[in-house]
């Protein structure tokens, strides 16, 4: 597949994630949109790694070029999983204190 199809698909998914963050007030939905953006980037990284691999294989058939990109995706997933546990713990604590997940109520953190 041409690489720019993957680029445009990832851009579209990322933009949908951004629109979700900007238009929703529920903290959990905002968090889910961040996950969506991370996945858009992961998809692009995998596509680029396969593009790199195709170029390297044309020169040397036994080449393993492009492995780094896929391992990066693996580490992004690891960090995302750690991020989700802490983030959801914060949201649960927030809900316990103010009985809402509406991010507009968070402006009282200023005072």
């Amino acid at each position: 597949m041409p690489i720019n199809y993957y680029i445009f698909l990832s851009i579209a998914l990322f933009a949908i994630g951004i629109v979700g963050v900007l238009t929703r007030r529920n903290a959990i939905i905002i968090f889910m949109c961040i996950e969506l953006m991370l996945n858009a980037v992961n998809l692009l990284l995998v596509a680029f790694s396969k593009m790199h691999h195709l170029k390297a294989v044309a020169i040397d058939a036994a080449s393993t070029a492009g492995t780094d990109g896929q391992l990066f995706v693996f580490f992004i997933m690891v960090v995302a999983a750690a991020e989700v546990t802490v983030g959801l713990a914060i949201i649960v604590m927030l809900y316990r204190n103010i009985h809402s997940v509406d991010v507009n109520f968070l402006n009282r953190l200023k005072h």
């Binding site: 698909l9 195709l54 546990t85």
Partner: protein, 166 residues
């Protein structure tokens, strides 16, 4: 149009449609379920690119673990359509326009790049297989791998400390 292209377009349409449903659905539980559909579509893309390890990890970690955590939290808080906070119409429109502008700028900037002629290798290549990735992970990337275990430990301790009652 061969089978790979048909699958590519089908999975792309599913991913984009379900992503749109995530942000437009009023009920948070339905949003989570649509996000799971998006992750399955992205896993399908990984299989198409022959990144089998990442496809499985994506399903196990994202669709299996993370989304269940989201679903549990939403059900614990008993969120539904009635309690869902809504932004007013103008703010929502401004958000959509801002995101659309980003989409437009990125597409316009990347429309005529040199990279356009390149191809991504589909249904071929062995770099995405577990054998190859595991070999690389436990030789070149063994230090980041061990550090990520410390990250997990600290995230676990952090979640327990934050979630604990006073």
């Amino acid at each position: 149009m061969n089978i790979t292209q048909i699958l590519f377009w089908f999975l792309s349409v599913v991913a984009l449609f379900s992503a749109l449903m995530v942000i437009t659905n009023k009920n948070p539980v339905y949003s989570v379920l649509w996000l799971i559909v998006t992750f399955f579509a992205i896993s399908g893309h990984y299989i198409l690119l022959n990144a089998q390890f990442l496809a499985i990890v994506n399903i196990i970690v994202y669709a299996g673990a993370i989304m269940v955590l989201f679903l549990f939290v939403i059900m614990l808080m008993n969120l539904n359509k009635e309690t869902e906070p809504q932004k007013n119409r103008w703010l929502r429109m401004a958000g959509a326009v801002a995101g659309g502008c980003l989409l437009l700028v990125l597409v316009a900037a990347l429309k005529d790049t040199d990279i356009k002629q390149q191809q991504a290798m589909v249904n071929g290549g062995s770099i995405g297989l577990i054998k190859n990735l595991g070999k690389e992970l436990f030789t070149t990337y063994v230090v980041p791998f061990e550090i990520s275990s410390i990250l997990f430990l600290s995230a676990m301790v952090g979640a327990v400390v934050i979630g604990k009652k006073e």
